[in-house]
């Protein structure tokens, strides 16, 4: 799916950015500009962040960041 139409970014690209350390919608916007235009994708960005946080948590790496707690 194209998640951010304004920036032309799909879910795969955004997940990569999140795995690369973006923990909030603001982080993503700063790094890629996705979410920084009309803002219509905000809910979907939050959903991706939450999903990635869950995946991250389920790996149970010691010291893995918990985005859900933020």
């Amino acid at each position: 799916m194209i998640v951010c139409l304004c920036e032309g970014m799909n879910d795969a690209a955004l997940r990569e950015v999140i795995r690369g350390g973006c923990a909030t919608v603001t982080d993503i916007a700063r790094r890629t500009r996705a979410g920084s235009h009309c803002g219509a994708c905000g809910c979907d960005l939050k959903r991706l962040l939450a999903e990635e946080a869950r995946l991250d948590g389920s790996e149970a790496r010691p010291g893995a960041r918990s985005l859900a707690a933020k």
């Binding site: 799916m1 194209i2 139409l5 219509a40 809910c43």
Partner: protein
């Protein structure tokens, strides 16, 4: 009709209009992507769906103007764009599945306020959306039956 009732119906019509305008764009882009991939048969059908949504918008705008309201052509809903055919159909299903209860509650509002003209219009649009949803579900069913490859092989030629 009381002023407040008129206001409520205009608001409901504007909600419907937002969804129609969103659908025009979503189906239009899906159709163009299908065309660019060479699925000309699908392109014809989905392009026609986009035009149908424009016809719905046309009638909703006329009705809002008739009720002395301002059609809100500024607001757009979430445009969901898939990157493969199946994803596109699922995105379109999601849009239609939101449209149907919205239309049903607007129809109930019209009945409550005795606005038969608006109710009649919305009922016609509702039937179109139900048929559209039915078509989308049939495509997803076909993909399940004959595989995506088998399905897509049938979509290359022009109607």
């Amino acid at each position: 009709m009381a002023v407040k009732a008129g206001r409520e119906i205009i608001d409901a019509l504007n909600e419907v209009l937002t969804a129609e305008l969103t659908a025009i764009n979503q189906y239009f882009l899906h159709a163009k992507m299908m065309e660019s991939w060479g699925y000309l048969r699908l392109y014809e059908k989905v392009h026609r769906e986009s035009i149908d949504e424009m016809k719905h918008s046309n009638r909703v705008i006329e009705r809002i103007l008739y009720l002395d309201g301002v059609p809100n052509v500024q607001r757009l809903g979430r445009v969901r764009i898939g990157e493969q055919i199946e994803e596109m159909f699922r995105a379109d299903v999601a849009l239609e599945e939101e449209a149907i209860p919205r239309l049903n509650s607007a129809i109930a509002l019209c009945r409550e306020h005795g606005d038969s003209g608006t109710r009649h219009l919305l009922e016609e649009i509702l039937v179109d959306e139900e048929e559209h949803l039915d078509w989308l579900e049939a495509q997803l069913h076909l993909i399940g039956e004959v595989s995506l490859q088998g399905y897509l092989a049938q979509q290359i030629r022009e109607e």
